[in-house]
């Protein structure tokens, strides 16, 4: 993995990003701002499943409100995240926090798509099964862990100790 990351860091797109100092800063700033939109939207959908937000609304109304913002912000986050990874692949690929974050992003997307199916199948539903509520509770934790892990990439050895992939 390290050898691949080192090769990637010498590729033309990676060098192009690395050599544009302001581009990296803009990427990180955009990633952070859109994380606010994605995390808040994801939380609101999960909190609706748990009946802690908008319990007076059917689920599809809450879904219609937050899903477009979640989708758009996630798309920007993925693009800026990929560009940041390309800009510094060794730092990212050798961080345990990075890989945990990638797994959690996939879990958040899968869980949210599951809710999307629920919104299509039973648009007027106001209450959910215990399983759906457990998934929503897990997603709340995962959404909050995403920015935490993103920042922890910089401190991988201090956070993970022997579990850090950085040597």
């Amino acid at each position: 993995m390290r050898a691949f990351a080192e090769w990637l860091s010498t590729s033309a797109p990676s060098v192009a990003i690395q050599s544009r100092f302001w581009f990296i800063r803009v990427l990180q700033a955009t990633h952070l701002i859109t994380a606010g939109v994605a995390v808040a939207s994801g939380l609101m959908i999960s909190l609706r499943v748990l009946n802690f937000q908008r319990a007076d609304q059917p689920f599809d109304a809450a879904w219609a409100r937050f899903a477009p913002w979640l989708t758009a912000s996630l798309a920007v986050m993925l693009l800026t995240g990929l560009a940041q990874t390309l800009g510094d692949p060794v730092r990212e690929f050798t961080a345990t926090s990075y890989w945990v974050k990638v797994v959690l992003v996939l879990c958040c997307i899968a869980g949210t798509l599951w809710f999307a199916r629920a919104a299509r199948r039973a648009p007027a539903t106001t209450s959910f099964s215990v399983t759906a509520k457990l998934v929503a509770a897990a997603l709340i934790l995962f959404w909050l862990l995403l920015p935490l892990l993103g920042r922890m990439i910089a401190y991988d050895k201090a956070i993970w100790g022997p579990l850090s992939l950085r040597t």
Binding site: Q28, L32, L43, R151
Partner: protein
């Protein structure tokens, strides 16, 4: 006591030393600060875009704000606590960092904007609470809030880019070891 002496006292405090020398303290506090800032901005955005009529236009403004601002205040409290802890690590450098100064100004601006909204615009909310379009003053407050909180988040990130050391040392000020 001069500003410099106050900052030096904070830096040499037990809390400052604990934050600086405890393994993992700064990374955990900083990462928690980022989570709180992200949540704060995201929840403020939900209320502000309702003010602007870009979403939730069929939902009463007071309902949206009541539901969302609980999370906002929670995130704000965590931001203040973690931000203060981070400040104790190097107050002498943060205080003179331009990004930190502008972030403090943006925070102040966001506070003033919110106070103005509560005192002037929100007092007549019953007249437009159910309307999809809030009055111009309320919409302006929403725009100002969005810009100011985005500035707070971005300038916070910029402090990291400048490592807290990108500042001009005031003439005659000794920033050497204090403890």
């Amino acid at each position: 006591m001069s500003t410099h002496e106050i900052l030096a006292t904070i830096q040499d405090s037990a809390l400052g030393n604990w934050m600086r020398y405890t393994n993992g303290a700064m990374p955990v506090v900083e990462a928690t600060h980022v989570v709180a800032a992200v949540l704060l901005f995201g929840t403020v955005l939900i209320v502000d875009i309702r003010l602007l009529g870009l979403a939730d236009s069929q939902r009463a403004y007071t309902r949206v704000s009541r539901e969302t601002l609980r999370l906002t205040w929670l995130a704000f409290a965590v931001s203040v606590i973690t931000g203060s802890l981070m400040f104790t690590t190097s107050p002498l450098t943060y205080f003179y960092n331009w990004a930190f100064e502008w972030k403090a100004l943006a925070l102040l601006g966001a506070g003033v904007n919110m106070a103005a909204f509560q005192l002037l615009t929100a007092s007549g909310v019953s007249a437009w609470n159910e309307h999809s379009r809030a009055p111009r003053a309320a919409r302006l407050t929403g725009v100002a809030s969005l810009l100011l909180w985005a500035a707070v988040v971005l300038l916070g990130r910029w402090i990291g880019f400048t490592k807290g050391y990108d500042f001009t040392i005031p003439a005659g000020l000794d920033l050497g070891p204090t403890g």
